[in-house]
Amino acid sequence: MEQGPAAAVGTAGAVGAAANAGAPAAVGAAAAGALSSGASAGYCPVPLPLSDSEQQCYSELFARCCCSSASATSSSSSSSSSSSSSSSSGHPQPPPEVGRGAPLPGPAATAGANQVGELFRASQLPAETLHQITELCGAKRVGYFGLTQFYVALKLIAAAQSGLPVRVESIKCELPLPRFMALKNDSEIRYSNPVEFHGMKCQIPYVTMEKNSFKRVDDGEKQDTMSPTMSPISSPPSSPSNYQRVPLTYGYGKLRSGMDQIHAAPYEARQLALQQEGPTSGSHGPKPTRRQTSLIRSLSVEREPQESNSNYPDDPWRITEEQREYYINQFKSLQPDLSSFISGSLAKNFFTKSKLTIPELSYIWELSDVDCDGALTLPEFCAAFHLIVARKNGYPLPESLPQTLQPDYLQSAFLKPKRDCALFDSYSESMSVNQQPRDLNRIETSLKEKVDLTAPAQDVNIDDKPALKISSMDEAMPKDVSVDTASPKDLNTVKARPRSRSYSNTSLEEAMKRVEEPPTPPPRPQKSHSRASSLDLNKVFQPNAPAAKPGLLPPPPALPPRPFVSQVLHHNTSNDSVSQPKPPGQLPSYSDFRLLEQTDQVSEIELHPQLTRTPSQTEESGSPVKKDLPPSKPIRRKLRPENQIMENQEPPSSVSGPSTVPIVKPHAPVQKQSSKQKKAIQTAIRKNKEANAVLARLNSELQQQLKEVHQERIALENQLEQLRPVTVL
């Protein structure tokens, strides 16, 4: 073991003089000395040659992994003591002694498995490679990551990253340092131990060195882009500590290379951070899983847009698409109306779940609530959320709200379609107001073109709303939407919203989709209609909260009868609006088009029950079937909407379907063609009458409400009169 101390002295002296990060260097040098002596005795069959820089780097990493685990105090205290001793370097004896004293816990200490795992994941190697490495380095055998195992593993990681096969022989070569995307690790360390700052500062030069030796997967231009991204780092005035940004740049640069793990790691880290410390309440429970799935989906699908997205990777204050989606979903969970705001107390409860301290949350609120109204609009909420996420990842909060988090910037950004990330390129670093109208126009055109929305119905509707705000594309958008939403899934979602208010629609689905599209008045005047809304329209609007403004033509409060009435209505009005009843030839074709897509029976069933009613009202048709059906008329009428709804979505399996069909079919198939038209006309007439009835009822109810409001007003005016003389004096 004499070689040990001698080697330790030599390396300690050399390294201690060379490097300026005293503590880890001393530890590392001595530890490396111990390693070389121990490696020969250890189970790693090959002695591990480590260069000076490698020793430094590895020791820092090991110290970080160790310090992150429970043995923080011992190593940090030892490192601080050794730093103080190495500062008086001229005595080769004391430093190695102290240094040697320090790693005595060193080789025996084990790096925490979590930290090591994260570090390895941050090396962006595929999982199998990492498994191989852990096996080779002996950790699996031993069961823990001791010093030797850790160093061997790091060496193997470096080998793998350089493209060498993962084998024991690889570690003999001269290898560059292993590269880690150190986003989360840095933050963890910052949070836990300020002494580690030295270690990090030392690693950053390695990071910057390594960027030049980037032999990564694909684009050579990445090297060029890496350097420009480094320079803007120093420019953001809001961040006091620029070096903390470098790991993020580094990470975002890797993002562009398109590796899954890279991208997964920060979001995973963020997810983990948010999930672990996240809320336990039920409202948050389903959200992380949903977020995960949404993130994973977006990760796997949206690789290209991510490329274009990360044109501005250097700015951690810029909200990415997935983040925005997530924030919007969270906003929706608190406040379904995206154009309204979240009250202060609600937001407070929500943000408190993030387990940040109250002063920090208070400061974040101060930054994000720019209008200081005690409530958060959607852009403000996203800014606040983003700040919280950044803070949890270790970023210091800025002195003032960054420009990319300003509400007006975010507001315009939100109007962009979610998947049209090409527009991102239009947003240069300086987001000027001039650009915004131009972008809005582009949004219009892009929204018009965008027909194949694969998003769930909700997103479509949300996109619809701002589209409506931008321009009057009422007709264009629903048509696009209705074409797409012939799928059963959308009809299912629509079925969940029985309310629909289409008195002037052209298609059934369009009518059902219209729940989101009634022209929304400006978001505030709810106060004036609060009374009216409190009556029963609120109950009506509950299932469809977005865009539920009482100032619109609301549906009649009698909600249950609506579905089949509206079905009838839509069909009727659709029939009417599409073509006059005069050319009857088209009507049955239209109804067939809607319903006979499924089967013939559907239209038969629909028409026949209606036919059964016509004799009672106006004229009689010549169908021989009706004689059988009048007794069961009311029942079938109620069944019909279910029939219609069900049969619209699924293969018809209605109750009365099979019963009427055999009756219908044998009778006069030839006469159907001519009598169908008559029936259709009668149907149309009846539907019109029903619509009239509904509207009349609605009218009466509104009159009633108006009366009540008047009375209220009179009462208030009286009150005012009574109070006034007192104050004037």
């Binding site: 407070k348 943000f351 208070s362 609120w365 101060e366 200081c372 109204d373 005690g374």
Partner: protein, 139 residues
């Protein structure tokens, strides 16, 4: 130029107090504390009169040879006390008023923060910045 600005809660404990030359901090604390008596006197003198903007500003509470003390009370009985240096060319009354108005606005913004519990010390950075600007240039 204001040398000391204090925000006193309704129960007469300080929510925020800051003074510029650090060595006189204790003296200013004492000054503000004694000025509270004058504030109460003025407030009670107003009686049941209407509370409007004019009444919120109490004006000069009492002058000493070194400095003057101005007071302002809000509707919720939160008091702002400002100590200005007499050696300064006398700040006009409406300047003092505008300073108090700014203080009041900043205080309202602090209140709007849901994470702020009324009755806590004020730690808002925006408020600090505003007070600093007031103390440095006194406007």
């Amino acid at each position: 130029m204001a040398v000391c600005i204090a925000v006193i809660a309704k129960e007469n404990y300080p929510l925020y107090i800051r003074s510029i030359p650090a060595e006189h901090e204790l003296k200013f604390h004492y000054t503000v504390h004694t000025s509270l008596d004058v504030v109460d006197e003025k407030v009670s003198a107003m009686g049941k009169a209407l509370v409007d903007q004019r009444e919120l500003y109490l004006g000069l509470l009492y002058p000493t040879e070194d400095y003057k003390v101005y007071g302002y009370v809000t509707n919720s009985k939160v008091k702002f006390v400002m100590v200005v240096d007499s050696s300064n060319t006398a700040l006009r009354d409406n300047e003092i008023r505008s300073m108090f108005r700014k203080l009041h606005n900043s205080y309202t913004d602090v209140m709007c923060n849901p994470f702020y519990n009324p009755g806590d010390r004020i730690h808002s950075r925006a408020f600090d910045n505003m007070v600093t600007s007031m103390m440095v240039q006194g406007c």
